[in-house]
Symmetry: C2
Subunit: 341 residues, 2 copies
């Protein structure tokens, strides 16, 4: 059983994934190779993964080989669905069981097409799978937050080449989300406006960090990007929750996603990247516990954060929490804007 342990000095939780139990020799990193022969995410290898949770396929049985998008439990999950939290103290520390969910969204049956290579229609299927899994996992009262992310390339943490994203549900509100939600709530409570809406309006007006504007979406480089060529994709109209998007909106988002991923691929020569979907957490209460977030509808604004992995997080960043970015967001936006897509 994994454990969530509390650091009383740094004030954060860490997941000790003891089931992975990696020893010193296990950390030698091999170049990826295409790994095609044994790839558990390819057509025909459906029995090499745990049974699917969700799939988009024209017709037929679960776990058959005619799917377009497939969602499975992670075979080596950081957190497990079974059991109770058992939140307890230990000396100066705190610890709870590693309860959560860890799912993998296989975005395409094709081993060698990255997400940037998919058609908008195919990306729309992927987004539909994201929405379905969000909606389902929110029904579990133990989960306080879900994070959907993608690791593309070895240096971005991808251990399998075949294009996939991951969804992890955690039993605590993570610090990154806690900060964002608090900021958004405080801003709204003094101004009765969404901070993200204000930021998007400022950026559209200013223009120098806008990469591409669509009718309902905008891609831009953040003014205080912590690393080179960082991007944000925002819905222009206020919306706190990705999972409330309808099919037409998902289809539009797919076009904007494809545009963003292609620009990154072309300008940065298929650099490794991570993207993260930030959306409002479930607002249910745990039995007997109040929720901090009675309503986020006015405060929060869902968005996608994309971070190419071009520089190393080194001693300075780790030791201070400050980041050094050697490319200004204005330069990055210009290169990305001028990309051939």
């Amino acid at each position: 059983m994994s454990e969530l342990r509390w650091d009383p000095i740094k004030l954060h939780w860490v997941i000790i994934a003891t089931e992975r139990g990696r020893r010193p020799r296990d950390f030698h990193v091999e170049p990826e190779g295409d790994g095609m022969t044994a790839c558990p995410f390819c057509y025909g290898n459906e029995d090499k993964t745990p049974p699917e949770i969700f799939a988009i396929r024209p017709s037929g049985m679960p776990n058959a080989a005619n799917w377009r998008v497939r969602v499975i439990p992670n075979k080596y999950p950081a957190l497990r669905v079974e059991g109770e939290l058992n939140n307890r103290g230990y000396g100066l520390y705190d610890v709870m069981n590693g309860i959560g969910a860890h799912e993998v969204i296989i975005e395409t049956p094709d081993h060698n097409r990255s997400m940037a290579d998919l058609t908008p229609h195919e990306i729309s299927d992927v987004l539909t799978a994201y929405r379905a899994r969000y909606q389902d996992l929110r029904r579990d009262f133990r989960f306080r937050y879900m994070v959907l992310f993608k690791n593309h390339g070895l240096r971005a943490g991808a251990t399998l080449h075949h294009s996939h994203s991951q969804l992890i549900a955690v039993p605590l509100l993570p610090p990154v989300a806690a900060t964002q939600l608090k900021v958004a709530r405080n801003y709204f409570s003094t101004k009765e406006r969404c901070i993200f809406c204000d930021l998007i309006a400022f950026e559209l007006d200013c223009g120098e960090r806008v990469v591409r504007e669509f009718s309902n979406f905008v891609t831009l480089t953040p003014y205080a990007s912590s690393s080179p060529f960082e991007l944000r994709l925002y819905p222009k109209r206020h919306s706190h929750d990705f999972a409330l998007m309808n099919d037409a909106q998902l289809a539009e988002l797919a076009v904007a996603m494809k545009d963003m991923l292609l620009r990154v691929k072309n300008v940065l020569r298929d650099a490794p990247y991570n993207f993260i979907l930030h959306t409002a957490p479930p607002m249910h209460r745990r039995p007997g516990k109040p929720t901090h977030w009675n309503s986020l509808e006015q405060d929060y604004h869902w968005h996608i954060e994309l971070v190419p992995r071009l520089t190393q997080v080194a001693g300075f960043e780790w030791g201070t929490g400050f980041y050094i970015n050697p490319t200004s967001p204005e330069d990055a936006a210009r290169f990305l804007r001028e990309a051939d897509v």
Copy 2:
């Protein structure tokens, strides 16, 4: 001029190091090679670096080739000493000039010896240089914090192979330090004890995360390590400030440092790592501004944090602030304790 920019959503400062101005093609990472012929840190190449700020040499002129440890300004500094902060607003954002200091401590004239290979006496010289630079930089009222760190290996962010560490002085208290100092102060204010002293006592009593104990120092793996084989080196007796250590204490610390670095080198096959020296910040006031830290003598406890770079920070960590560690600190301590040093 670099800029410090404030992210109003994530609530952190980012250094946009525009003087480095890296374009898309500049991020292609080459394997290091030994780079010996052109190494600016080697004997005889003293004129390839900016003039030295400090050195330890038996006798002779500054910038001559008979030094044991040499401190120089970074040729490509993230922050510059010259100028004023000019703290100002910009739309929703905040920005100030990138004022600070960025120094490099060349730990040995030998190109191919890493810090783990140095003798305790040589490491003691390096620590003496650290202390001298801390003491000097603290006299500049513009600097609120100094962080000393080492990047060992390409994947830990080292761009030059020749063994060196870095000292950066920043005009703001960084978030990592702010959290630690606040935690330590709050703990002391309720208990009249140092939280680090309590933590060290608990760990020595418990024992399973202790790697090596010396008369006045202890090396251990933190209970909530965010990555595999993380280490902390603490002075056992309460001391808030590394720069107050006397020569005899530095000599003892050098023995403990060498022991820690050799264990990491042997157990993890010379894995890349970062270490960070956490010590109390200067307590001077800026002209006209109060300091938040009138006295840290009772609250804070300096220490060294060492983080081997065995796993990638990926989408989950970036998007949540939670870390997944696949090796329990108890297992890591056992491997490190049993190392042949």
